[in-house]
């Protein structure tokens, strides 16, 4: 029975038991992390079927590779790492079928100097606390996410939605911390721009008159 484990049982303890061959411990680990993996996959892929594939592949991979998991990262970071790579693989496959060229050179530069300036600047008409209650807002959020390059999207989801640190996000995606920071900034700015165009109050729009204001 999986209920032999309490919420106080740490992931590390469950990992130890699962490695020793305890199926209940493995199932408890799966139950703890499956919703998070599924949520990440849904936000990356927006298709339930693909998100299910990613979730199942992730836990099959956990099962296969648990012995090799040394616990340098937390278990949850390790699981999100596996899920991220599985989701990217599906996105690349989709792109391979739909587009002609996708080499690195066509991707936007991750240079800090090329960060786009905010354009539409206005206070929002409602607070986020009220907005999350509205059903059409989820669609708006997901549409804005979809318009992000998938690498920026993943960094944003791992850092700002899943709450990984910069360091953990870098480890999960095999990126440098500097790269994670630049991608996160791009993602946050682009999402802000997109959402403000819909949620901002046009009557309150501010025009930036002095770009080099001291």
């Amino acid at each position: 029975m999986t209920n032999q484990f309490t919420p106080e049982t740490t992931d590390a303890e469950l990992v130890r038991r699962a490695k020793a061959g305890d199926l209940d411990a493995f199932e408890a680990l799966t139950s703890r992390h499956e919703q998070r993996v599924f949520g990440l996959a849904m936000r990356m892929l927006r298709q339930e079927h693909d998100a299910e594939d990613v979730t199942q592949q992730t836990f099959l991979s956990v099962l296969e590779n648990l012995e090799g998991f040394r616990g340098e990262a937390s278990f949850s970071t390790w699981v999100l790492r596996i899920a991220s790579h599985a989701a990217l693989k599906i996105i690349r496959k989709r792109k391979g079928l739909n587009t002609v060229s996708l080499d690195e050179a066509t991707e936007p530069s991750d240079d800090l100097n090329s960060i786009p300036h905010p354009e539409f600047i206005a206070d929002w008409r409602q607070s986020p606390e009220l907005l999350v209650e509205r059903n059409e807002v989820r669609r708006l959020l997901d549409d804005a996410l979809t318009r992000l390059d998938e690498k920026h999207r993943l960094v944003f989801l791992l850092r700002d939605v899943e709450g990984l640190s910069i360091q953990e996000t870098a480890a999960a995606l095999d990126l440098s911390e500097a790269n994670v920071k630049v991608r996160l900034l791009r993602a946050r700015l682009q999402l802000r721009e997109d959402l403000t165009r819909v949620l901002g109050d046009p009557a309150q729009q501010l025009i930036r008159t002095h770009h080099h204001h001291e």
């Binding site: 061959g21 199926l23 493995f26 199932e27 799966t30 499956e34 919703q35 599924f38 949520g39 849904m42 936000r43 339930e48 998100a51 299910e52 979730t55 199942q56 836990f59 099959l60 099962l63 296969e64 800090l112 960060i115 300036h117 905010p118 600047i121 206005a122 206070d123 929002w124 607070s127 986020p128 606390e129 907005l131 999350v132 807002v137 989820r138 959020l141 944003f156 700002d160 939605v161 709450g163 920071k181 996160l184 900034l185 946050r188 700015l189 999402l191 802000r192 959402l195 403000t196 901002g200 501010l206 025009i207 930036r208 002095h210 770009h211 080099h212 204001h213 001291e214």
Partner: protein, 81 residues
């Protein structure tokens, strides 16, 4: 501090990891620059909206199927249990 410099520091400021001297500069700039103040507010609201957004619930039938598959695989890997 210029608007561009503020933009480059935005993550650190919003995440509360900027060093205190820079933080003071940052806030001094915002006090005199309404657009930057609003951008910082918007960024915070954007993050909150995603963080607190409605989660996606995993379908129950899928969960059962997946756990069946995992148990089967587990038993193949650990025969004799």
């Amino acid at each position: 501090m210029k608007c561009e410099e503020l933009l480059a520091m935005l993550n650190e400021y919003v995440d509360g990891t900027v060093d205190p001297a820079v933080c003071e500069e940052f806030e001094k700039h915002m006090a005199g620059c309404n657009p930057c103040q609003v951008v910082v507010d918007n960024i915070r609201q954007t993050i909150t909206l995603y963080k607190d957004g409605q989660p996606y619930a995993m379908p129950i039938q899928f969960r059962e199927r997946m756990h069946d598959t995992l148990r089967k695989k587990w038993k193949e890997k650990h025969p004799g249990q």
